[in-house]
């Protein structure tokens, strides 16, 4: 069963077509990569899926439900979480609190319970804390839980962003250039992390990545975007040898 389907999705900004007639299908436990040169429209696709933009035409179907006009927070509630190309952690919050924000959406108690500390408030707060500690322990971040998230080393910040996304309990995780700015060792760790996330939480992952080692190394399937058009799709092996892809990346082959 497909968890996400983009059907003929277009995104136009004034006269500029950023994405045109894109069709994508992602199965419920797929690990798919999206690649393409700078400005190919990859982040726009993410923004379309996560409700920051509404597709000009076409439809985004998630979990058999059209989510075109869902607001970003409703899309999270439906089960899509994301990370950002330029890390967007909450700078004044600790690692713990950054993750705590993600659990907000599934709280049973609300404003009045929190302000008056009515019955079950403490019980639920306690279970939230346990959940956060559990997740932080899985990702080996329990030691830095009280540090400001933005004071961590770069690689760890990316990790916290992934953890924060996972904490919303998504069915589909979107990673926007997770390896950007990482050194080779961190990249190897990251690949291991992404694989383990997929297996441990049994979710689908769609990632944008420029680092071919990472993409080819972990993705089961890859599709290539150029000028907003999908020019190729297939296994890493097929993509590597696709002349269209090579042309998109290197320009016309000069003999």
């Amino acid at each position: 069963m497909n968890i996400l389907e983009l059907k003929e999705c277009c995104m136009k900004f004034g006269g500029l077509t950023a994405v045109s007639e894109l069709n994508v299908e992602i199965g419920s436990t797929d690990l798919v990569g999206m690649i393409g040169p700078n400005g190919a429209g990859k982040t726009t696709v993410f923004n379309m899926i996560t409700g920051i933009y509404q597709p000009t035409s076409g439809s985004v179907v998630f979990d058999r439900q059209e989510i075109n006009d869902f607001r970003p927070y409703e899309i999270v509630a439906a089960g899509i979480a994301r990370t950002f190309q330029n890390i967007r952690l909450f700078p004044n919050l600790t690692v713990f609190e950054n993750v705590q924000v993600s659990l907000n959406k599934s709280l049973k108690h609300g404003f009045s319970h929190s302000i008056l500390q009515l019955k079950n408030f403490h019980k639920e707060e306690h279970s939230v804390r346990e959940t956060i500690m559990e997740i932080l322990t899985i990702f080996k971040l329990e030691g830095v839980k009280d540090e400001l998230a933005t004071s961590l080393p770069y690689g760890d910040q990316r990790r916290v962003e992934i953890v924060r996304a996972i904490a919303t309990k998504p069915k589909l995780l979107l990673l926007d250039e997770p390896a950007a700015g990482m050194n080779p060792t961190e990249k190897v760790d990251l690949m291991r992390l992404i694989k383990s996330v997929k297996e441990q939480f049994n979710i689908a992952i769609l990632l944008i990545e420029h680092d071919m080692k990472v993409v080819m190394g972990i993705c089961e399937r890859i599709f290539v975007l150029d000028y907003g058009v999908k020019i190729a799709e297939g296994t890493p092996g097929q993509i590597k040898n696709n002349p269209k892809v090579i042309e998109a990346y290197l320009g016309e082959v000069v003999s």
Binding site: T50, G51, I52, R71, P72, Y73, V76, A77, A81, R82, F84, R88, L89, F90, P91, N92, L93, E97, Q100, V101, S102, L103, N104, K105, L107, H109, G110, F111, H113, S114, I115, L116, Q117, F121, H122, E124, E125, V128, R164, A165, T168
Partner: protein
């Protein structure tokens, strides 16, 4: 265990307010007035801190909400007090305050929904505008006394009422901010787009911050009116809003303790400078500029948290 203690603190604080109020006539009236103003300013500053410091929405309209509460409460109590002499008199003030808060909260909702798409300075100037519109409208309402002001408000507010409300506001806002639910405000402040991407309904949070802040500002207005027994629209001009903002900024946005200290200091300071009254506002404004340039996080910083301070005292630093 910690969980029950916060309610205990509240109870003790209210009880203390009650006990002190029995002796309030013993206090020098001038000092007493300053103490009451301190209380009212703490309510105003901590409630604005929820909007500005915690939810990150820069509002310059707090005096507007305060005036709505002041006028509504005065209208309620003046109407009810006319037929006074029965034992339910004690309920007049709380009823008036609650209604004042409710009207202010309603205004917070009406102001909040349309303006919260705006950011930073735009929001500041728009809320300032709303505050001024409220003031001008009141000025034109004859049944509220218009520009002449509203007189003869029963003097019902005493130490007990003011400081019970102070305790409740501090209790409520601290609880809110320390809860998982309340972390949503901080997320909205720190990064709106990331907050949405983590499932936070940012608009709802902003509106809730506005409504809650406005509610308490309204109550503060009601207390103020029932303490000085005369109000006029000029008392609630945007200069008053700026005064409250300055308390929040100097206290360190997002630090409840810092903001309370700032509210105390900035209420006393003008009184202390009364001897050089004409220089007072000049010194005050220069101080604001100097603090912004040298210590923009406020005198007490946003990381100034009582918990950490207490922890520091309790646990001597580990030796290496």
């Amino acid at each position: 265990m910690k969980t029950y203690s916060s309610k205990l603190y509240l109870f003790v604080a209210i009880l203390t307010s009650l006990l002190v109020s029995f002796f309030q006539d013993e206090i020098n009236p001038y000092y007493f007035q300053i103490i009451i103003y301190i209380g009212i300013n703490i309510i105003l500053a901590t409630s604005l801190n929820l909007i500005n410091g915690f939810a990150g929405q820069f509002s310059l309209g707090h005096a507007g909400f305060m005036s709505l509460g002041a006028y509504t409460a005065s209208l309620v109590s003046s109407t009810l007090h006319a037929s006074s002499g029965n034992p339910v008199d004690i309920l007049i003030l709380p009823l008036a305050l609650l209604l004042g808060g409710a009207v202010a909260a309603l205004a917070g909702l009406l102001v909040g929904i349309p303006t919260l798409r705006l950011k930073g300075d735009y929001l500041a100037i728009t809320t300032l505008g709303f505050g001024e519109i409220i003031r001008v409208v009141i000025q034109n309402l004859n049944f509220l006394g218009g520009a002449r002001g509203f007189t003869g408000i029963p003097k019902l507010a005493n130490f007990f009422w003011v400081f019970s409300v102070v305790s409740i506001v501090v209790f409520a806002i601290s609880n809110l901010i320390n809860s998982t639910y309340g972390k949503g405000f901080l997320a909205v402040r720190d990064d709106e787009i990331a907050a949405q991407a983590m499932g936070i309904n940012t608009t709802k949070y902003k509106v809730i911050a506005f409504i809650t802040g406005a509610f308490f500002a309204g109550i503060a207005g009601g207390l103020y009116a029932h303490f000085i027994s005369y109000i006029n629209p000029q008392q609630f001009s945007f200069i008053k809003s700026i005064e409250i903002v300055v308390m929040v900024i100097i206290g360190g946005m997002g630090s409840t303790v810092g903001v309370i200290i700032a509210a105390i200091v900035l209420t006393i300071l003008p009184e202390a400078l009364r001897g050089i009254a004409e220089y007072r506002m000049v010194i005050y404004s220069l101080m604001l500029v100097v603090i912004m340039i040298s210590r923009p996080q406020g005198l007490f910083g946003k990381s100034f948290r009582l918990k950490e301070l207490v922890a520091k005292f309790r646990r001597p630093p580990m030796s290496a």
